[in-house]
Symmetry: C2
Subunit: 678 residues, 2 copies
């Protein structure tokens, strides 16, 4: 028991307070009072993670006065640390500074082990750093011939005594390196310990002689049907150090998931070939992103993966054939934790652990689970529709009471694939489009350039490679703008030059296309939107809308309170244009939010927080799954949603914002038979 005559210490920002015996270190006081003050070296004055800022003066709120000598003077350890590595003015090492009288201690964010990861959107879930893998400095007893035991056993004893950790297991190559590391570090070593589940034994992933500062890294991977995105994340603070993406090489086996399943069914060894190709791509991506960020691949000790069920099974080496037919049975649906090298990730730490988020249903994958983890519909007071746009769209509708989920086969059009001038989102791709309703002239912006195409210096700013194509968000805006400018009618037909009054509408076969960009003498591709592009976007948006509508039917609602647009390119979809297209149900425009790559964010959250893993593992069990493939209502909604925007939904919310010309270009053959013009 501490006496009231003992010094009172108040920790900020938590406000936790208590009396401690005079001479107690700030770190010990923090531990005693349950204050979140980081330490890797366990108080040996090595790691500097426990830095804190003493505050002196009178504190009205806390009713105490802190004298300048309330802490012990800066000692030799702190001076040496300051000389060698630098300590910001006013800062002390919590493990060295001793509390002598009443004091207020500020714990800066970077000294908090479980610090909050700041997230921008108010609705988004906040995350507390609690990664599965952490560094621990330990001092291990030297071997005693007369009381023999293994170096590993003595390491385990040290981890128990110094860090209160249960006995760990270790891969053979780490056991092989153990003896050298301990001797080189003079029986002091830093270990990377993976402890995914409290109920399971921790696993010793790596060991360094003496003090290894880190940081350790994790890779959050969003493995899509078309693209693979990875985020290299600092496991000490959740910061993204680098992001990178590649095309999914499985595209050569089939553009969409069902054609890949067919490929597996029709070709002996087909599934194995697809497994090998995606594993190779992941490994190359990991290698590249480490090189790009200048990070030692050995420091990458964790991977989290989100993907749809077909990609999930192919990645694991499980034949996806059952996913191609009702009842779309998954081989395994729970979250999995396994050695990353089992998934072909050979270039990162050889003992790195991979965590795959749970699948929700045969067509609703770990990517949807990751979106749920990121957006938290199960905690929402109002009814939120979350749409993750990709080659397959994951659609989630819910609130505190109830969460429904389905997936809808939108095809790759929203990702710029199967579009005549389409390309993946990369520098040179058109991502924003505006068309003047009067002149029918377009202007646009391309990725990698701040200027609009009608601004001065645009061509120079774009550079010599020029405008290369149109990406997913670009084609969505282009089609919506064409509709608003009267270049396309509500059935999706592009009018002729005569019908629209612009020479940019040019015959292409028996239909028309609209010229967005002609590089002329500069060379490069001519970029236009043709009738097939419009049809592809119509199919995609109808599928998306029908899925959302199906969930609303199941929920028994006619309207949702808000919409979250997510996707690999989710941040770039304009809510207005999505509504003009009829991608999403009618909702006040200010209630539509872009969440960016929510699946990737979910993967990052799972990387940073074990609690988040436990949360999504339990949440997915509560989600009601709707199988679009066998729902007759899905087909009905799909057909009804073909118009721009579709007839079944009058979209009153758009009325005050945009005017949709009531044109009709029913052109018959070659666009010659005109019936009506608005």
């Amino acid at each position: 028991m501490k006496a009231f005559s003992d010094p009172l210490v108040v920790f900020m920002p938590s406000g936790k307070r208590g009396h401690v015996a005079p001479g107690t270190t700030v770190l010990d006081a923090a531990r005693h009072l349950g204050v979140d003050l980081d330490s890797v070296c366990g108080g040996r004055g090595i790691c500097s993670k426990c830095q804190c800022i003493p505050a002196y003066g009178h504190f009205q709120k806390h009713g105490l006065t802190a004298a300048e000598d309330a802490l012990s003077p800066v000692n030799a350890v702190e001076r040496r640390y300051d000389e060698k590595r630098g300590l910001k003015p006013g800062r002390r090492l919590g493990c060295q500074a001793r509390i002598l009288s009443n004091i207020v201690i500020d714990v800066p964010p970077e000294s908090q082990l479980h610090r909050q990861v700041v997230r921008k959107a108010a609705e988004a879930r906040s995350v507390e750093m609690d990664p599965a893998t952490r560094l621990f400095l330990v001092e291990v007893d030297a071997p005693d011939m007369h009381a023999p035991s293994g170096d590993f056993e003595r390491l385990k004893s040290a981890l128990a005594a110094q860090w209160d950790l249960p006995p760990a297991t270790a891969p053979l190559p780490v056991l092989d390196r153990l003896q050298g590391a301990l001797r080189k570090g003079k029986w002091q070593a830093t270990v990377a310990l993976h402890h995914g589940h409290a109920a399971e034994a921790p696993r010793l992933l790596d060991i360094w002689p003496g003090f290894f500062e880190g940081p350790l890294y994790g890779l959050a991977i969003d493995l899509g049907s078309t693209t693979i995105a990875a985020h290299l994340t600092d496991l000490s603070n959740g910061d993204v150090r680098a992001s990178s993406g590649v095309m999914n090489p499985q595209i050569r086996f089939g553009e969409d998931l069902m054609s890949r399943v067919s490929f597996a069914m029709m070709n002996p060894g087909g599934a194995e070939a697809m497994t090998a190709s995606v594993r190779d791509a992941l490994d190359a991506l990991a290698r590249d992103i480490a090189a790009e960020a200048g990070v030692d691949p050995r420091a990458i000790v964790e991977v989290t993966l989100v993907c749809n069920p077909v990609m999930h099974h192919l990645l694991l080496g499980i034949d996806p054939v059952e996913l191609g037919q009702a009842p779309f049975a998954l081989a395994v649906s729970d979250a999995l934790c396994l050695d990353a090298k089992e998934l072909g990730l050979a270039s990162i730490n050889p003992a790195a652990q991979a965590y795959l988020l749970p699948l929700i249903a045969g067509h609703v994958g770990a990517d949807a689970a990751a979106v749920v983890l990121s957006e938290g519909p199960e905690r929402s007071e109002d009814l939120v529709l979350v749409v993750d746009v990709g080659t397959n769209a994951e659609i989630i509708l819910g609130n505190r009471e109830r969460v429904l989920a389905c997936s809808s086969p939108t095809g790759p059009a929203f990702e710029g694939a199967q579009i005549s001038s389409g390309q993946r989102a990369a520098p040179g791709a058109i991502e924003r489009v505006r068309i003047d309703p009067a002149t029918k002239e377009p202007r646009f912006r391309v990725i990698g350039c701040e200027l609009w195409s009608d601004e001065e210096g645009f061509l120079e700013a774009v550079g010599p490679s020029g405008v290369t194509g149109i990406c997913g968000s670009g084609i969505i805006e282009a089609v919506a703008e064409m509709r608003m400018a009267g270049l396309v009618d509500s059935s999706g037909l592009i009018g002729s030059a005569e019908q629209t009054g612009t020479a940019r509408c040019r015959p292409e076969g028996r239909t028309h296309s609209y010229l967005l960009h002609d590089p002329g003498a500069r060379g490069g591709p001519v970029i236009s939107v043709n009738q097939a592009d419009i049809r592809a976007i119509q199919l995609a948006k109808s599928a998306l809308y029908a899925g959302a509508r199906l969930l609303m039917d199941r929920m028994g609602v006619e309207r949702v309170d808000r919409v979250v647009l997510a996707g690999a390119f989710g941040a770039h979809i304009s809510p207005l244009h999505a509504m003009v297209l009829g991608m999403i149900p009618d909702v006040p425009l200010e209630k539509v939010r872009s969440a960016g790559n929510a699946a990737g964010t979910g993967a990052r959250i799972a990387l940073c927080s074990r609690a988040a893993r436990r949360l999504i593992e339990t949440t997915v069990r509560r989600i009601e799954k709707v199988e679009t493939a066998v729902e007759p209502r899905f087909q009905e909604h799909f057909v009804a949603a073909n118009a721009l925007p579709h007839a079944s939904d009058p979209f009153p919310e758009l009325a005050g914002i945009v005017t949709l010309p009531s044109v009709d270009f029913n052109a018959g053959e070659g666009g010659r038979r005109r019936r009506r013009r608005g």
Copy 2:
């Protein structure tokens, strides 16, 4: 609650009894009463493991009369089983036969899940079958599109509901096969589940559609410095189906352990080369033994391994350099459970699990732990000395109160290596030797032949390959018999023909050799024992004796109550000859027992029983380790033990049994300078 008016059932041989509701199956009654009645199919009338024998009549001891109709009549399931697979007369399937009135049920040994494995020696530990891996038949729910879950998750639910098992994990290749197996078996499958520790998750090693009868097999491997022995063991009853042995291919890197450690230190990649060679040998041995026994390698799902610390580390791929110098620090000493394929065992079930027994100290390995497991010194009322003879001898001294252990570097002489005519124990090797004290003529037996060499028909019985060499037990007997026949003096010197009176003692360089066997015109090797052989045996026996003596010093005793001789060839060492040589301390001859390959037996026990694994894991912690390499007393004992038998121990127990001629062949150069003759 069952009423007393309900039928009374008495199970034999356990005598467990109780009242059960009329119509209860015998299997359910057994489970209810805690009777050990096996079942793989869970009562579906498929596996026949629950066979039992109803007994009718009056049972005085049990005070009941069992009528012929006390069980329900044989039903269709039993008739079909009898027709298809045959049921012994009088036997019933416990899952089909229902108890209608008072009855006595005999459970035959083969229907007991935890049946005792019978062991011959009275002192030896009895073992109850409780293997880590067992088969379970399960019925899995078919997938439901509207309540989607993975096939694996439904399998786990079935294992929980039908077998009360906690959630399992599964390797990726098994997950890949899961869906096919479940569909082929119409949602019925047999799984091999490894559940080594109650606290850990079981692991799904394999799956078969429908009912798979088994049995599953395990390999108990004794990995010695010189030889590797494996026993293919039926995991349902502990029976050894086949045994096989090969030379350890690491011999080419060094005959003894220390030369292998040196090889690792002196040659970059040397440890890796030794690791690869022993893993290859293990895999080939596993493949061969499966082929020899006609067993599907996939049915081999477990491996237990015992070996000394250097072999242990080399097998695991851990550089053994620390074991070559004080303080002889082990990298890891606890028992290990890992995937057998990590140890190169690629030819057995790909998910097979390997269990390595714990190490005791830097020089006292898992082989010694296995000897302890087999011989149970820690349970002995009297003081027992257990000597495991090999290239390194493991020596254990103890009783209920206290157990000490050390190892002693005997070299390979006891295994027939480094002996002029030496060979490994194999057909053609001399294993028994007798020398007539009067005529000095030898007679012998060779492995693979029942006749002694002086019996009629011996040469024909030995066959064309003839007598090929002398093995470990043969050289021990030869030297002891030479001593008893006065051919060798107490200093170990072989006398000349003149000194000994037999022309079989022939000059060989500056010393003499004794001719054991001359094939003459038949061809083949001349087999003799030369002075260097005697010296090698003297060194080996001195090391062995000194180790035992050291433990006795530490224990503070001058005598032991009994001696157990173990070793790869332990069963073949004659206790009398071992005492004549002075290999072991003096003890009444009837108190010396050969335990055979106790290390191998320990490995088999660990294969059959999880409880035995837990037992040895705790027992090794209690053992006091003595490091011979740094004990000055060891050197003293070693030097003093050089004579045959050594002067320090008068061996009174031998006095009434053998006469040791007091000869002295101090022969000087070339055997010419004789000083005294007995």
